[in-house]
């Protein structure tokens, strides 16, 4: 499976080269990979539907429990099949949709990387590698939404999608780590199949909240749903693939995956059911009120994601069956519908449903595919969507948590979705010919292939229910539920509640569809009024807030006044170090003069006077001379306290310094006096604080010795190992020779800098 996942990345790396080779046919060529992967996964169906779970593992960072381990069970198999199967047609479709586009190569590279990461998400067994793939899908999604990067809106929408999903991703990482800690392992297969205290651990609630923050943002659940419609700024193949069939389902996948472990927790049930139900109704309503063909589909995708989340939350056997069926049905018809939306956009030049009409004669094949997919969306027999909807009703009828509310929500959204299906699949093709910017004509075969195959798979699955039932759905239900469930899917269950609800919703839905035009004005008004309070307004407020804080922060901290930087740094040091010092060591000052010779005291006094004189003097010459006094006094201290080498060096350096200062400083202006009285007091206080801190620090440091010094080694090894009698020299040129070499480099670079600055001046003057 490692190769299945990574082949996408490899092919992505080869794409720029391949595209030069085959030009416009690139889509067909690249589609061979997902096609091959489809067959690869199909070949695993018999084993997996018998209940087998295939585990494979490669070491990545074994010391940290991070492995590239993969798990193939019913749920991952279903997702993997959807990703590779739909991916095949998307790649072909994109080849026609973006024919001759300047950045076609870039598009395919990102798309293949996305496909590989998505396979990684659904196949990963290790939590950390799952997270890595998860973030990769966010990043590739960002690149794909912003594919038309010259468009400002596209960039903005891409950023919005990225911030929302990556923000959630951050929470998810925390959640997954907690999950790994509570579960005692970072392998999903072990966490879910072993006895552990997932539900009773002290951070269960935090873990659930963090994980759901990640999955809700990714799967566009209320209140994070707003980024998904905006992501429609992406080219249609991207919307069809990422934002309906695959990426947005990653969140749903993870919730389903973790359901056997966390499904019993009341918080899990409550959050999933409520967020799912709200998202479902809201999505359906917004889909009905939107007019852009892609927006309609985006909102209906939100509705579907809400439904799936709610079903996981309900958690009964029926809900799990409905989950797996609905997931499969939705991916098929929504992929098809998105591609049809792209065709409509491409061939008519507009995205607005209100101006489309009567296209069936110009685009007969598209019309047929749209009708079939639309019927599946509406949940009409004998399509697979009908089976899914029946299962959904069955599930909410048996829901143990707030059953009545969920039934109302499900029926309401079903009614709205039927009206939406009409708007998307009937309105553009029937009625009077609309006034479209481009003269409509049928799309090329590359674009038609995807919708036709996906739409008719919906039909096929509906008619031959045996196939999806035993091969895919059963195994997926088993993995979501954590135990095998006995059931069979069928079109006709006899006259029962789900059927009655279905018929009722169809009648109501058709009525709503007929009122589609009439309701426009009211809906626009209502949505305009409400949107000011919606979560998206909150998002923009938050972004403005961030910018505001950053501005304020820059104004206060990064204002270009060097003195302020220094004060902040020095005072931070004083406070942090001072606090630690006082709390660990206490305030301790000692002045022991008895142990001090007369001449040592004199030098110390000289140093103090020199330091104070430098501050007070207004004469540059005086300052430089005092600095000399200061430096030579330090040299004397070195010599007095057994460091002759230091003394010699200090004398040399000090001499050079004074010469340098005399040479250069006198080309600079005299001491100017800029500071106000307040500044002098402020700086003086800061300086005194720092001085006191350093004094205390020296006292503390002389008293405390935590570790045995390594000096004794140098003292002992100096002569036997290095044949040197001056231990300091031996350390410098032998034991720590590399450090000294580095020091030489620093000096050489400083010299180069000095030299170049002096030379540069000459050139500037010449020019």
């Amino acid at each position: 499976m490692l190769f299945a996942v990574f082949s996408g990345f490899v092919l992505a790396a080869l794409t720029p080269w391949l595209i030069g080779l085959v030009k416009d046919r690139i889509g067909w060529l690249l589609a061979l990979l997902p096609l091959g992967l489809t067959f690869y996964f199909v070949s695993h169906i018999p084993a997996v539907s018998n209940g087998e779970v295939i585990l494979q593992s490669w070491d990545w960072m074994p010391g940290l429990d991070i492995n590239l381990s993969f798990m193939l069970d019913g749920l991952s198999l279903m997702f993997a099949l959807l990703i590779s199967f739909i991916g095949t047609f998307i790649l072909i479709y994109a080849g026609s949709y973006l024919r001759g586009h300047r950045y076609l190569g870039r598009f395919y590279v990102t798309m293949l990387c996305f496909m590989a990461s998505m396979l990684g998400v659904v196949l990963s067994d290790n939590l950390i590698s799952l997270f890595v793939f998860w973030e990769l899908t966010s990043i590739t999604s960002y690149l794909l939404i912003g594919f038309n990067h010259e468009d400002k809106d596209a960039r903005k929408c891409a950023l919005q999608g990225l911030l929302v999903t990556v923000g959630g991703g951050l929470a998810l990482m925390a959640g997954l780590i907690m999950l790994g800690m509570a579960g005692g392992s970072f392998e999903l297969s072990e966490i879910l199949n072993s006895d552990n205290d997932l539900l009773t651990s002290s951070f269960t609630v935090g873990m659930i909240l963090c994980i759901l923050a990640g999955t809700f943002t990714k799967s566009a659940q209320f209140p994070f749903h707003f980024w998904l419609p905006n992501a429609m700024a992406a080219p249609t193949p991207v919307s069809a693939y990422l934002h309906s069939a695959t990426m947005v389902k990653a969140g749903v996948y993870l919730m389903a995956r973790l359901n056997p472990g966390l499904g019993e927790h009341p918080l899990w049930t409550a959050l999933l059911c409520s967020a799912g139900a709200v998202t479902m109704v809201l999505g359906a309503y917004l889909a009905y009120s939107a007019t852009g063909v892609k927006k309609v589909l985006a909102y209906s995708t939100i509705m579907a994601l809400g439904t799936l989340t709610m079903l996981i939350g309900i958690g009964t056997d029926h809900a799990m069956i409905a989950f797996a069926t609905f997931l499969l049905a939705h991916s098929l018809y929504k992929g098809a519908l998105f591609m049809i939306a792209g065709i409509l956009d491409h061939e008519t030049g507009t995205k607005d449903l209100t101006v489309m009409g009567g296209l069936r004669s110009a685009m007969p094949i598209t019309a047929v595919a749209a009708t079939v997919a639309g019927l599946s969306l509406a949940g009409m027999p004998p399509l697979f969507g009908f089976v899914a909807k029946e299962a959904l009703f069955e599930a909410v009828l048996g829901a143990p948590w707030q059953g009545a509310v969920l039934i109302v929500a499900a029926v309401a959204s079903a009614i709205l979705v039927i009206a939406v299906a009409g708007a998307i699949a009937v309105k553009p093709f029937w009625g009077a010919l609309g006034n479209t910017p481009k003269k409509p004509h049928e799309a090329p075969i590359g674009m038609l292939l995807g919708p036709i195959v996906l739409a008719f798979t919906s039909l096929l699955f509906g008619v031959v229910l045996y196939a999806p039932d035993t091969l895919l759905v059963a195994a997926a239900v088993t993995s979501v539920k954590g135990a095998p469930v006995d059931f069979y899917l069928s079109l006709w269950h006899g006259v029962n509640w789900p059927l009655i609800l279905s018929i009722g919703s169809v009648v109501a839905g058709v009525t709503l569809y007929l009122l589609w035009n009439a309701n426009r004005r009211i809906l626009i008004k209502v949505n305009g009024a409400v949107s000011r309070f919606g979560p998206e307004a909150g998002y923009f407020k938050m972004m403005d807030g961030f910018v505001g804080i950053a501005n304020w922060h820059t104004r206060v901290l990064q204002n270009g006044v060097m003195g302020n930087y220094m004060i902040v740094l020095v005072m931070t040091t004083v406070i942090l170090t001072g606090y630690t010092l006082l709390s660990q060591h206490g305030f301790y000052l000692a002045l022991n003069l008895s142990d001090m010779n007369f001449y040592e005291g004199a030098i110390a006094l000289l140093l103090t006077i020199a330091a104070i004189y430098v501050i007070l003097t207004r004469s540059r010459l005086g300052a430089v001379a005092t600095l000399g006094v200061l430096g030579f006094s330090v040299a004397l201290i070195f010599i007095l306290f057994s460091a002759p080498d230091l003394g010699i060096t200090q004398v040399l350096v000090e001499t050079l310094t004074v010469i340098l200062l005399v040479l250069v400083l006198f080309k600079l202006p005299g001491f100017s006096h800029y500071s106000t009285r307040f500044e002098i007091w402020r700086d003086g206080t800061v300086a005194v604080f720092f001085g006191v801190l350093m004094t205390l620090l020296v006292h503390a440091a002389i008293d405390v010795r935590y570790f045995e010094s390594i000096s004794s080694y140098f003292v002992q090894a100096s002569y036997p190992d290095a044949q040197g009698r001056n231990i300091v020299n031996v350390i410098l040129v032998d034991f720590r020779a590399l450090d000294t070499l580095g020091e030489l480099f620093v000096l050489a670079i400083a010299a180069l800098g000095v030299f170049s600055m002096l030379n540069l001046r000459a050139e500037v003057k010449k020019s």
Binding site: M562, A611, F638
Partner: protein, 111 residues
């Protein structure tokens, strides 16, 4: 000695907080001296026994001053000189280009 170091650090910081760029450099010099003394002092000060090995012995006779901080300080002195030389030429050049020695007026990136 601790008090002397404190005074040195205080005057170094005060000088570095001045707006005159020349004073900044002077502050830098005092700071490096203070830091050297700090390292030297906290490693313990020993009188009259430099870390040398007399002829004929393989180890120094008796207790000698700690050679390791001395090696560190030696490096620091030399580096400080490099930094100083660089800084002095840099401010000289900056003064020529910008035409002021007031640090608060050197705020723009493109002068």
């Amino acid at each position: 000695m601790a008090y002397v170091i404190g005074v040195l650090f205080a005057s170094a910081v005060y000088m570095m907080l001045r707006r005159s760029i020349v004073k900044l450099v002077i502050g830098l010099m005092i700071l490096s001296n203070a830091a050297n003394l700090l390292i030297f002092t906290v490693s313990g000060m020993t009188r009259g026994s430099p870390p040398l090995i007399p002829e004929g012995l393989t180890e120094p006779a008796g207790v000698v001053a700690d050679p390791l901080p001395q090696a560190l300080v030696l490096t620091a002195i030399v580096i400080a000189f490099g930094v100083l030389a660089f800084a002095v030429v840099l401010i000289h050049r900056a003064y020529e280009v910008v035409g002021t020695d007031d640090l608060d007026k050197m705020k723009d990136t493109d002068t």
